[in-house]
């Protein structure tokens, strides 16, 4: 009772569906005046049972299901899944396919970062920049459509390679688009990094320190903006990345200092757009000729899955960070026994808490958007018991774990 009368803060719920957030996530803020004192994030509003659906299908069908986990990362999920299956079934990917996979991945990174830049501008109320960046992004989408046959759901991945080759007559269009980006990059950089409006709203706002980024396992541009050198393209050395000139993109490359604020996240993403353009050019120069897929006969591939008994993991640096897929086959059917997906946003949820603390209410949209969240990719479980939703806490999970151990020991 005493606490109730002396309490000076009040609570604001934001979400699950809120105009300030583009994703269904629920924040419960403890506010004192305009200042955020405490944040609680609650998830699980958009569980779609993708993994369970996948377990009823064969890996060729899952490729297209994985593509629909996320609209923007519609290349990263199938490619991570394909890598997991290749790992489980010992499928060798031809060298040319390595380079083609890099080109598609980097093209998607350009699209995604441009989209994010537009959304970030929109969140601070600068819609003119939104239209400008999305106009440029349209060129990247046109190139995607030209290379893969569709703008968003690319359907380019195949287990053991890719489905479409880049022929010589496609190169002029690729170079034209890349040159367009190079010509316009300076314009974009000037607008995002020198404009007073954007600087006012993003500098010193939503700070994630180096220690917090390490401790909370942030991934992707969110962690690199805090100065943590973490990038699975460099760390894991997969596809053709070891042959290419690639480095961690941290904000000190441009400004010489790391602040870990929203402004730094803008810098990192812009630098990565530039890096991606460079990587695509390197790939086109170095690409060897040869096969693009290891096993073109799909019935043979399906027979391989049926024979396989074992597990595999697949990682890829998606635009938002590292995406991770786990697959297990039991040797009885071509359908996977288990399929587990960890989307990059899962790791970027906890960093929201230190970022949002001590900020103002008006900064919530831009800080929340600065990690480029993708909630529907992240949600993996929802517990419904007797038609009521419940949340399991740490103690309950521990109890379940103990019960399971006892059950197995019997």
């Amino acid at each position: 009772m005493a606490e109730a009368t002396t309490k000076t803060t009040y609570q604001i719920p934001i979400g699950p569906i809120h105009p300030a957030l583009k994703e269904p996530v629920m924040f419960e803020f403890e506010i004192s005046g305009e200042r955020i004192v405490d944040v609680d994030v609650s998830l699980g509003h958009i569980h779609r049972t993708v993994e369970w659906t996948g377990m009823q299908r064969n890996p060729i069908q899952i490729l297209y299901l994985a593509e629909r986990i996320c609209g923007i990362c519609s290349y990263c999920h199938p490619i991570a899944f394909a890598r997991a299956v290749e790992h489980a079934c010992d499928i060798e990917v031809p060298e040319r396919a390595w380079y083609l996979r890099v080109i598609q991945g980097e093209l998607e990174r350009i699209c995604s970062h441009m989209l994010w830049a537009g959304v970030a501008a929109h969140e601070i109320g600068f819609d003119t920049v939104l239209y400008l960046t999305w106009q440029m992004r349209e060129k990247a989408l046109d190139l995607t459509e030209y290379l893969t046959g569709n703008r968003v759901t690319k359907a380019i991945t195949m287990i053991g390679g890719v489905r479409r080759d880049i022929t010589k007559d496609m190169l002029p269009k690729i170079h034209e688009t890349l040159n367009y980006f190079k010509d316009n990059f300076e314009k974009l950089r000037h607008i995002f990094l020198d404009d007073k409006t954007i600087k006012m709203r993003s500098q010193g706002c939503g700070i994630l320190t180096y220690d917090d980024a390490l401790k909370l396992c942030a991934v992707g541009p969110t962690t690199r903006a805090s100065g943590v050198k973490k990038d699975s393209r460099v760390d894991q050395a997969y596809f053709a990345y070891p042959d290419l000139d690639i480095d961690y993109m941290t904000p000190d490359k441009l400004t010489g200092e790391v602040n870990g604020d929203v402004y730094d996240r803008i810098i990192v993403r812009l630098l990565e757009v530039k890096q991606s353009i460079d990587l695509i050019e390197q790939c086109i120069d170095k690409m060897p000729s040869g096969e693009i897929v290891s096993e073109p006969k799909i019935p043979k591939l399906l027979a391989t899955f049926k024979k396989t008994s074992g597990e595999g993991i697949g990682k890829h640096e998606a635009p938002r960070g590292e995406v991770f897929h786990y697959v297990k086959f039991n040797g009885e059917s071509e359908k996977p026994y288990t399929w587990k997906v960890r989307a990059p946003t899962y790791n970027n949820i906890l960093p929201w808490i230190p970022m949002l603390k001590d900020e103002q209410i008006a900064d919530i949209p831009i800080v929340a958007a600065s990690t480029d969240p993708c909630m529907s990719c992240t949600n993996r479980v929802a517990i419904i018991h007797n038609k009521k939703r419940t949340i399991l806490d740490k103690e309950e999970l521990h109890r379940f774990s103990v019960e399971k151990t006892r059950r197995l020991m019997k």
Binding site: L65, T128, E138, G149, N150, T153, A155, D195, K196
Partner: protein, 133 residues
């Protein structure tokens, strides 16, 4: 320059709009009347932007070539293909199709292909335009 977007905004005012105004420049009051007018030839429709080569549109099915091997049914991610056992031919429901063209790749006799047609919106998912057989 403190407001770096300003010159860009003024330059944009003199440029043509980026968007293709498909199907007509302004939203019509009545879509049905517009379609009637188009049918009579009174109104011209602004054409959509051309699709790139190898675009994945509506599936075309060569029934004569099909041997009824059912491989396409095995790989279709959305279960859009139905087998007709008495004829040993297939039936494709485009309302379920995801346009991945995996069935085209797997077909041993190349009886399936993707066309450029993409304006497939319909109020009835079992309409004649959305079933290929």
């Amino acid at each position: 320059m403190r407001f770096t977007m300003l010159p860009q905004v003024f330059a944009q005012m003199l440029k043509k709009p980026f968007t293709n105004k498909f199907p007509v420049k302004y939203v019509p009051r009545n879509t049905t009347k517009l379609l009637e007018a188009v049918g009579k030839g009174e109104v011209q429709i602004i054409p959509p932007i051309e699709t790139p080569p190898n675009f994945r549109g509506k599936i075309q099915y060569d029934k004569e070539k099909c041997t009824g091997c059912q491989l396409c049914i095995r790989v279709c991610p959305s279960g859009a293909i139905e087998f007709k056992p008495e004829e040993k031919k297939i039936k494709i429901y485009l309302a379920r199709c995801t346009f991945c063209s995996q069935c085209n790749d797997v077909c041993p006799v190349n009886c399936l292909s993707m066309s450029n047609e993409f304006l497939l919106a319909d109020t009835d998912k079992y309409s004649k335009d959305l079933i290929v057989e």
